[in-house]
Symmetry: C2
Subunit: 547 residues, 2 copies
C-alpha cells in the first residue's frame, strides 16, 4: 500500500559514544533507508536497470527520470523530506529505550514529503486505519479503512446536521450571509456530523479516531466552504468565484474534529463542480481511459463530465428536484414506504415498496419506472400527455384541475408531475447533447456512461432509457458507479499518487457555463419529449413501442 | 529584505464571470508573479541573461542552475509552494471585498516554500516585525526586529525562570529525570520566560506578539530540550545522544507561546555544541572566511571552533565556573558591586566596580585583570605561586591555611583561587592548542580570534593575553563578538538563505571528543603556568616581564 499514511517498523541500533546520532536522526536515517529500498524496487519494476540505479543513487537526474515517468509520486525520492510532529519528538523518550529501539513510526503525507506523527513500541504496522468521507448536503457517509490491507471495515451514514438550518443549501447560505457567528454554527454542525460518524464507526468496528491517521473527503463546494468555515455565499452568487477551491491538508484538531490525523479534501473545479465530481471522475477512471466516457451525477443539481485521458469537458446545471421526488406531488425521499419500482401488467400497477410497507409516496427511481411504463403502454404519448382513451384509470381530477392516474391506493400521478419531470430530464439530456456536440461526437462514440449517486444505483436502466434520461446505448456500457465521490476518497486515502491525478484532472477540466450558451434553450425544447422529439436516437425504445 | 517572513502588498483584479478564480487562487497567482519578478531580478544580477530566463521561464533546468549556483534559496523558484493557513482562508471574506482587493499578505517560511498566515486591508508592508532570542540557561535575551528595515527596535533580558529549579543545569536535569510532569514544569517555565520578554518588549516598543510573524532562537542543547519538552538527561549522560538535535519550525501556539507566528531554532551539532555555537559561528562569518579563524565561547563550559570556509573543527569541555566568578572565594556574577577592572599602581590596587558601589566581590574580567597585574608585577610567578617577598600585601591567612592578597577592603584573593583559575584557562588553552595541532597549524596562521559571550565583551585583551587565556597575536585580530548567539539568530530572521548555511555548517563541523584524546592531560599540564611553561609563545608578555 502506498497511501496518504504509512507505518514502518524499524529495528534501530542503540546509540553509542561512537554513533551518538540523536534518537530522531536515527529514526529519520532508517526511514530514508526504507524509502530508498522502495525506490530501488520500483526502479527495477519500471525497467530502470539496477546498475543505472547504483551509478547515480542520489543524483538529481535519476530522481527526475522517475518522477517525469510518473512511476513514483515524487515523495519516495531520496530528497523527500521527513519532519517530526512536536508530539512525536516528545514521545521519543522513553518509547525508544523501553522498546529496545524496536519501534513503529506512523507518517502522514505533507506537501513535499512526510510528517512523522506517532511512535509506538514494537511492530504495530498491522493496526493502520484511516477514514474516507462523502460530505453530502443531506447525508454524511463515512468509511473506516484498514490501510494495511486496503479494505473497508465498515460504513455509516449520518444526517448532515446542517439540515436543522434548512433542508436546502440556499436557505443555509442565506442564513449565514454576513453573519460570521452564524457561519460558525453551520461549521460546527458539519464537524459534529463527522464526529458522530466517527463514533458510530467506533461502535461498529471498535476502532476510534485516535487510531486513525488520515481522512480524505469529497463534497460539493458549498459543503467544503461550510466545513472549513469559509463564507459560502459566493457559491451561488455571481461572479461565482469561490473563497478557495483547493485547500491544503490540515490536522483534524485544527478543524475541530476529535481526530489528530490529517484531513485531505478533493478540490473544486468551479462553484457547481465540486470535489465530489472530481473524486467521482477519478473513481471511474475516466481520466485514464482511452475510450470516451460520460460521467453523470443528477440530484437537485446535475453535474456532467465528458472525456477521456486526452480531455475533460464539464458542466453543471440546476436539474430541479424532480428526480429526488421533490416536485412530484406524492414524491418522497427513498425511505421506507416509498415506491421505488413499478410494472404495468394487464392494466394494473405492480409496485415495489422500500421496507415492504404500504406505499406512502414515490421516490426518484419509482417515478422513472412509472413514467416509462405509462409511455411504453401508450397511456402517455411522446409529448408526455396522458392519452385518456388508453385506460379508464386515467381520470380527470376535479380538485387539481388536471388528469392523473392512481398508481397506488390514494396516490395519484399527475399531468403536471410528468411535465415537471420531462423538463428535468430534458435539462440533463441537453447538457450531455451539448457537450457531445462541442467535441463533435455522437453517442456511438461513447465507451462508458457512468451514473453516479444513489439515484443511479436504484434506477432501472431500461426505464431510464425509455424516458430519455439515459442514452440508448448497449446496456452494459451504462455503469452505475454508486457513491463515486466516496469511492474516489477511498482511492486517494490508499494511493498517495492520486494527488498528482487530481491535479491533472483539475487542469484538464474545461468548464462550460450552460447559462451562456445561446442554443441551450432550443436544444432543451427538442428534448422535452419521451424519449426525445427525434425517436431515431432511441432505436430500442422505438422497437418496444412497435410491440 | 529576504527573511523568514515576507509581506507583500497586492492590487488584485476583482473577480468577474469570465475570470472567476477563487479569492485564494487570485492571491496565490499574484504572489507567484512577484516571486517570478524577484527571481528574474536576481537572475539578472547574477549574470544569467534575461534571454535565457525568457527561453525557459519555468523549466526545471533553469531552476536548478540557479539553485546549484546558490543564488536563490530554492524558495523563490517558480515551483516553490505557497499554502494558506486555515485562519488565512477564513479572513478572505470580507477583507478582499472591503479593501477593493488591495491587500497585504504576510507569509512565513516553511519547508519548501511559504505559508500565508495573515491578510490585511491596504498596504501594511511597513509594519513587519519579528523576534530573535538567545535562550541562555541564566538569561533570556530577546530583540524585537523591524523586518521591513532590518534593524532592532529594542532588546530585553529576563531571567530564565528555570533558575527556580536550580541555578545550574544539572540540578534541573536531575529534577526532571523520568518525571514527565516535572519536565513539563520546566518547559512551561521556559515558555513563561519568553512570554515575559515579549511583554517587556511590548512595554518598550508598543509592538506585541500578535504583530510578529517569526521568531528565531539559539540556545544550548539542554535549553532546547527543555523548551521543546524533550527529556534532557541525554545531554549530560553517556552516550550523549540527544533526543533531537534539529527540530522543524513549529507555530508559537503549538509551543505554548502567546504568539501565533513560527518559531525556528538553530540546530545542535552535538550535546555540548548547541545551536548557540552554530549561530555564533554563522554570525562571525567564519564559515565563509578565507583566513583561518578561532571561535571561543567560555563560560561554565568552553566551546571552541577552528576553521574557515573549507573546514570547521570543534570541541567542547567543562571549563569550570572559574571565569564566571564561581570558584574564586570572593567571586560573583557581573552585578553591581562586582570588581570588573583592576590596576596595580605603586603597590596599591585601583579598582573599577560595577555601579560605582563599594566592592562586594570580583567577577570574571576582574579576576583576569587582577591575576595579570599580580603576575606582571612579579607578585605571582610563572607557576602561579605567590612571591611573598615581592610585597608586604601578600600575607599568610591563618584561617584559610594559605597565602592571599587583599585586593579591596576585606576582600582577599587566595593561592587556591589562582590555582583554580589556571586550571580553567589551561583547559581552554589546550582545547585551542589541540585543535590547531590537529590541522597542523600554529597561531601565526590565525586570521581572527573571535571571543563570544558577555565575558569576552568586558575582558581586557592585554590581561587575557598576559595570563595566557588569549593567544599572543596582534590585538586587532582578537575580536569580541558580544552575544554572537543572538546576532546569529537575528541574521537568520532577516536572511532566509541562512538556512542553507546552517545546514552546511552542521555538515562541515567535525566534533572532537577531548575526553578521548590521550595527549590532552599532558598538554594541559604544560599550559598550567602564566602565561604558559613555554614563554616563547607569548613574546609581548615576555617583553613586558623584562620591563
Amino acid at each position: 500500500m502506498n497511501g496518504l499514511s504509512r507505518k514502518r517498523y524499524l529495528e534501530l541500533t542503540e546509540p553509542t559514544e561512537e554513533d551518538c546520532r540523536s534518537s530522531w536522526q536515527r529514526i529519520k536515517d532508517a526511514l530514508e533507508e526504507t524509502f530508498r529500498e522502495i525506490e530501488s524496487e520500483q526502479g527495477k519494476q519500471s525497467g530502470v536497470t539496477a546498475s543505472v540505479q547504483k551509478k547515480q543513487p542520489g543524483s538529481i537526474e535519476a530522481g527526475q527520470e522517475k518522477q517525469s515517468g510518473g512511476i513514483v509520486s515524487g515523495c519516495e525520492k531520496q530528497s523527500c523530506t521527513i519532519e517530526p510532529a512536536l508530539g512525536f519528538l516528545q514521545t521519543l523518550y522513553p518509547v525508544c529505550e523501553d522498546s529496545a529501539w524496536k519501534v513503529t513510526v506512523s507518517m502522514v503525507a505533507v506537501d513535499n514529503g512526510w510528517k512523522a506523527v506517532r511512535l509506538e513500541a514494537g511492530d504495530t504496522t498491522k493496526q493502520h486505519y484511516g477514514y474516507c468521507v462523502d460530505l453530502g448536503s443531506t447525508t454524511v457517509v463515512m468509511r473506516l479503512i484498514d490501510c494495511a490491507r486496503g479494505r473497508s471495515l465498515g460504513q455509516v451514514s449520518v444526517n448532515n446536521r446542517q439540515i436543522a438550518w434548512g433542508a436546502d443549501i440556499l436557505t443555509r447560505i442565506f442564513y449565514c450571509k454576513d453573519h460570521p457567528e452564524r457561519l460558525k454554527e453551520l461549521t460546527d454542525a458539519t464537524r459534529a456530523s463527522l464526529a458522530e460518524a466517527m463514533e458510530a464507526l467506533r461502535q461498529k468496528t471498535g476502532v476510534g479516531p485516535e487510531e486513525c491517521l488520515c481522512m480524505t473527503m469529497a463534497g460539493n463546494a458549498a459543503m467544503m466552504h461550510f466545513f472549513y468555515g469559509l463564507d459560502p455565499f459566493c457559491v451561488f452568487a455571481s461572479p461565482y468565484a469561490l473563497r478557495a477551491g483547493q485547500v491544503p491538508a490540515y490536522s483534524g484538531k485544527e478543524l475541530g474534529l476529535p481526530f489528530s490525523g490529517m484531513v485531505y479534501s478533493y478540490p473544486a473545479r468551479a462553484n457547481y463542480l465540486g470535489g465530489d465530481i472530481v473524486s467521482g471522475v477519478l473513481a471511474c477512471g475516466m481520466d485514464k481511459a482511452d475510450e470516451l466516457g460520460i460521467f453523470l451525477d443528477i440530484g437537485t443539481n446535475g453535474e456532467l463530465v465528458i472525456g477521456n485521458k486526452e480531455f475533460l469537458l464539464c458542466g453543471a446545471g440546476a436539474a430541479g428536484p424532480a428526480l429526488e421526488g421533490g416536485v412530484v406531488k406524492t414524491g418522497m425521499r427513498a425511505e421506507p414506504g416509498a415506491v421505488f419500482g413499478v410494472k404495468l401488467e394487464n392494466g394494473s400497477f405492480q409496485l415495489q415498496v422500500i421496507g415492504g410497507e404500504a406505499p406512502r409516496g414515490i421516490c426518484g427511481s419509482g417515478i422513472v419506472d412509472l413514467l416509462a411504463e405509462l409511455f411504453l403502454h401508450g397511456w402517455v404519448d411522446i409529448r408526455g400527455k396522458f392519452v385518456p382513451q388508453a385506460s379508464e384509470s386515467i381520470q380527470w381530477r376535479q380538485e387539481e384541475q388536471e388528469q392523473a392516474v392512481e398508481y397506488a391506493p390514494g396516490l395519484w400521478f399527475y399531468q403536471s408531475d410528468i411535465t415537471e419531470f420531462i423538463r428535468t430530464k430534458a435539462a440533463a439530456h441537453t447538457m450531455v447533447e451539448y457537450l457531445m456536440g462541442q467535441v463533435g461526437l455522437s453517442m456511438d462514440h461513447i465507451g462508458k456512461f457512468h451514473v453516479a449517486g444513489a439515484f443511479g444505483t436504484f434506477l432501472d436502466k431500461e426505464s431510464a432509457v425509455a424516458v430519455g434520461l439515459y442514452p440508448d446505448i448497449e446496456r452494459q456500457r451504462i455503469v452505475s458507479e454508486g457513491n463515486a465521490s466516496l469511492e474516489g476518497a477511498q482511492y486517494w486515502l490508499l494511493h498517495r499518487q492520486a494527488g498528482q491525478r487530481i491535479k491533472e484532472i483539475l487542469e484538464k477540466m474545461e468548464y462550460v457555463q450552460f447559462a451562456a450558451v445561446d442554443d441551450f434553450l432550443r436544444m432543451m425544447t427538442a428534448a422535452q419529449a419521451l424519449p426525445h422529439t427525434d425517436l431515431e436516437r432511441y432505436p430500442t425504445v422505438k422497437q418496444k413501442l412497435k410491440l
